[in-house]
């Protein structure tokens, strides 16, 4: 008997081990097979064809550097200087960067002995070390140049357009315009635009020096010029971040206020009528299931784009989530405290206020604060769809496909904003609940 028992046990154990081994191998195999399927379903091999590495290079270099355009209009012969080639970054009349000199012959020193000269009669000379002097003449819409037939890969030339790319800068010549781009590290005009008297002044001079603008005090003027900077729009950015946080705050708190009474209706202990309970729960499931995306779309039709729409979308979705969490917390309250309160003759409302609420408040607060932080992220995303807040500014900056320094700025601001809200919600939690986790 015992020998048979042992045999049976051993067989069972063997079977168990076999099953475990099978599971141990089949789960990784399944995951691997799924990943292989995804590899082809997502067309990863074709990714190399679709990816645009030039875009990546532009993105990487533009996000930390800027360029100054020196443009000659070949029809009028006028030369303009502009940061990033934007009207907002135009140098005022009579001013130009200090690496440009000369009057009839304008010499642009790109650094590293790379020199471009704009000569009269729409002639251009480009000096690159280790390469013969390049001379180009623009007549009407055509270009004639002394470039040899076989060109190095940093020059592309036709009789309509010549482009020269050097490590120091770029030159683009067409019949209508001659353009030179000179690259510099750093974000351009971050503090003041060129038309501000404070541009290029040191901090000490602004704080302590004599008035730069006779009409305004230095500090007030500097702050106002910075705040109204047309290039970086600090004022709009601050408003946008405010809007995003506002959306998260209004949505989370509004949802909590709405969800608390509804949660009582959905909790078995406080709502004896089955129909009411089931109905409330289905409402929670419905608003949660519809998802913030659809709510945003629907609400944007009624209220138009803006922060209120985003706040309402968060509010409606989170009412469902909070309702579910709150009602689960309410199911788990300790009956003894309620009995204690009711033994003093408390009415139902007082029983809830003194017997139930103190028990659930820590749970609810922890959830609300956690959602406040996570909704800051959602508000950024919803803002990009519905048109409000920093999310919208970011998508707009990305869609222009050239203001990558602004994109980098907004991304860092978003990260700082979310981390700040994370810290704030953790701090509030430890202050209000007295527990740090």
């Amino acid at each position: 008997m015992t020998a048979i028992d042992l045999n049976l046990t051993k067989q069972d154990a063997d079977k168990l081990f076999q099953r475990k081994r099978l599971i141990g191998f089949s789960i990784p195999a399944l995951i691997f097979a799924y990943l292989v399927y995804i590899f082809f379903a997502f067309d990863v091999p074709g990714l190399a064809g679709r990816a645009n590495l030039d875009n990546a290079v532009t993105l990487a270099s533009d996000s930390w550097s800027h360029k100054v355009h020196v443009t000659r209009d070949n029809r009028s012969g006028e030369i303009s200087y502009a940061v990033e080639g934007e009207r907002k970054g135009l140098y005022p009349d009579g001013q130009r960067p200090d690496w440009v000199s000369g009057d009839s012959v304008v010499t642009i020193d790109l650094g590293g002995d790379h020199i471009v000269r704009y000569l009269p009669d729409n002639r251009t000379e480009v000096e690159v070390p280790g390469f013969p002097l390049i001379e180009v003449q623009a007549v009407g819409r055509t270009l004639t140049s002394n470039l040899p037939a076989d060109l190095p890969d940093w020059i592309s030339a036709s009789n309509r357009r010549i482009a020269i790319t050097t490590p120091e800068g770029r030159v683009t010549l067409t019949g209508a315009r001659s353009e030179v781009f000179n690259y510099f590290p750093g974000w351009e005009l971050f503090w003041f635009t060129l038309d501000s008297p404070y541009h290029g002044q040191s901090l000490g001079k602004i704080l302590l020096g004599p008035r730069l603008d006779p009409d305004r005090s230095n500090i007030g003027g500097a702050v106002s010029d910075w705040w109204n900077n047309k290039m970086w729009r600090h004022k709009d950015v601050a408003w946008a971040i405010g809007e995003t946080i506002l959306m998260a705050f209004l949505g989370t708190m509004g949802a909590a206020i709405l969800a608390l009474p509804l949660a009582f209706l959905a909790a078995k202990r406080f709502s004896p009528v089955m129909l009411v309970r089931a109905g409330t729960r289905r409402i929670f499931d419905f608003v949660r299931g519809v998802d913030a995306l659809i709510w945003t779309v629907v609400l944007a039709r009624a209220f138009g784009p803006g922060p209120l729409t985003g706040a309402l979308a968060i509010l409606i979705t989170d009412t469902g989530t909070f309702g579910k969490i709150f009602s689960e917390a309410l199911e788990n309250v300790d009956q003894k405290q309620i009995e204690g309160v009711s033994s003093t003759g408390a009415k139902p409302l007082q029983r809830y206020r003194f017997g139930v609420i103190p028990q659930v408040v820590p749970v609810l607060l922890a959830q609300i604060l956690y959602f406040l932080e996570s909704n800051t992220r959602s508000a950024t995303i919803i803002g990009a769809i519905t048109g409000g807040g920093i999310g919208l500014m970011l998508t707009q900056a990305i869609q222009t496909q050239k203001d990558w320094e602004e994109v980098a700025y907004y991304i860092s601001l978003i990260v700082v904003m979310v981390m700040f809200m994370d810290w704030l919600s953790g701090w509030l939690r430890s202050k209000l609940i007295g527990r740090k986790d």
Binding site: I31, Y34, L35, I38, F42, D43, V44, L47, R50, A51, N52, L53, N55, A56, L59, W239, E243, L246, M247, F249, L250, M253, G254, D285, R288, G289, V290, D291, A292, L293, V298, R301, A302, F303, G304, P305, G306, P307, L308, T309, A311, R377, T380, I381, A384, I385, G387, G388, G391, L394, T395, I398, Q401, V407, I411, I414, V415, V418, M419, D422
Partner: protein, 291 residues
């Protein structure tokens, strides 16, 4: 206190009562003040949001049902086409779910590494714990849409940018949750394995992961639910899947509302389905652990 104990018993009761009442009053005052500040913040916040919105709240409130009503009535008129339309958008839905699933898988793998490397007592390089924690903080803080939009510019539209974006965020978010679980793991199996000469990866694989697996799976399922929503939203900004189809259907406007309705139904059904399945499974996991 000394004053009270020096005086007679009746006075001490009165003293206690008055000090209790004063305390209650102070508490009520602070509570009322907090409530007042909160109400002011809510009301003024609402007014600011209302001002900066394109349409006002009160003007829009009665229109809130218009769009759903339009969509529903048109879908009802063309209800015969609806099953066909739903079938038409199933591939897009599968893509959305695939994005969520793959990014959850990759994110879980990343999260496990970040959590093990960032937990005291388990870390491979204890000096680098703060580094790995900061990495997971930053990965968590970047909203998916930021990475997705930048990657769409570089890699072109399609599911891959969305997948990478969601995976990065998932790894950061799970890294934090996983490391909270791993902190409570029993270290004895790890020590036992170390005494047999097991390498770090063997100690983690055989000593820690079996302990934390139920919690890890439960968190991963929750993340999968969240990621389905996220991948639908990212589709809306150009990353393929059902969100992209929804935006196209909406851009067509009236006349194509039946397509929008079909997508709404699919998306709603999917979210509710995965919600239910994952919450049932998660309940079983956490209950099983208690036994």
């Amino acid at each position: 206190m000394a004053e009270i104990s020096a005086s007679g018993a009746p006075q001490s009761v009165a003293g206690i009562q008055s000090s209790y009442l004063a305390q209650v009053q102070r508490r009520r005052f602070y509570g009322g003040l907090t409530l007042l500040i909160f109400v002011i913040l809510m009301v003024s916040g609402f007014n600011i949001a209302d001002d900066r919105n394109a349409g006002g709240f009160w003007e829009g409130l009665h229109q809130i049902g218009d769009y759903p009503a339009d969509v529903l009535s048109e879908a009802w008129e063309k209800r015969a086409d609806l099953p066909g339309l739903i079938a038409k958008y199933v591939p897009a839905l599968v893509e959305t779910i695939n994005i969520a699933a793959v990014s959850t898988l990759i994110g879980v793998a990343g999260g496990i590494f970040l959590s093990l490397l960032g937990t005291r007592g388990l870390a491979r390089w204890p000096r680098l714990i703060p580094l790995f924690r900061r990495i997971s903080d930053i990965m968590r803080a970047v909203p998916e849409i930021v990475i997705a939009l930048v990657l769409i510019f570089v890699l072109g539209g399609g599911p891959v940018p969305a997948m990478i974006a969601i995976a990065i965020h998932t790894a950061g978010a799970l890294g934090k949750m996983f490391s909270e679980v791993a902190e409570n793991a029993d270290l004895k199996p790890v020590e036992g394995l170390a005494s047999t000469g097991a390498t770090w990866s063997q100690r983690m694989l055989l000593g820690v992961l079996p302990q934390v697996a139920p919690n890890y799976i439960s968190y991963s399922l929750l993340r999968f639910e969240i990621n389905i929503r996220a991948s639908a939203i990212l589709g809306f900004v150009g990353a393929g899947g059902i969100g992209y189809e929804l935006r196209n259907a909406m851009a067509w406007g009236p006349g194509r509302f039946d397509e929008a309705a079909a997508i709404f139904i699919l998306l709603f059904g999917t979210i509710v389905f995965f919600d239910q399945v994952s919450s049932r499974y998660r309940n079983r996991l956490t209950e099983g652990q208690g036994q």
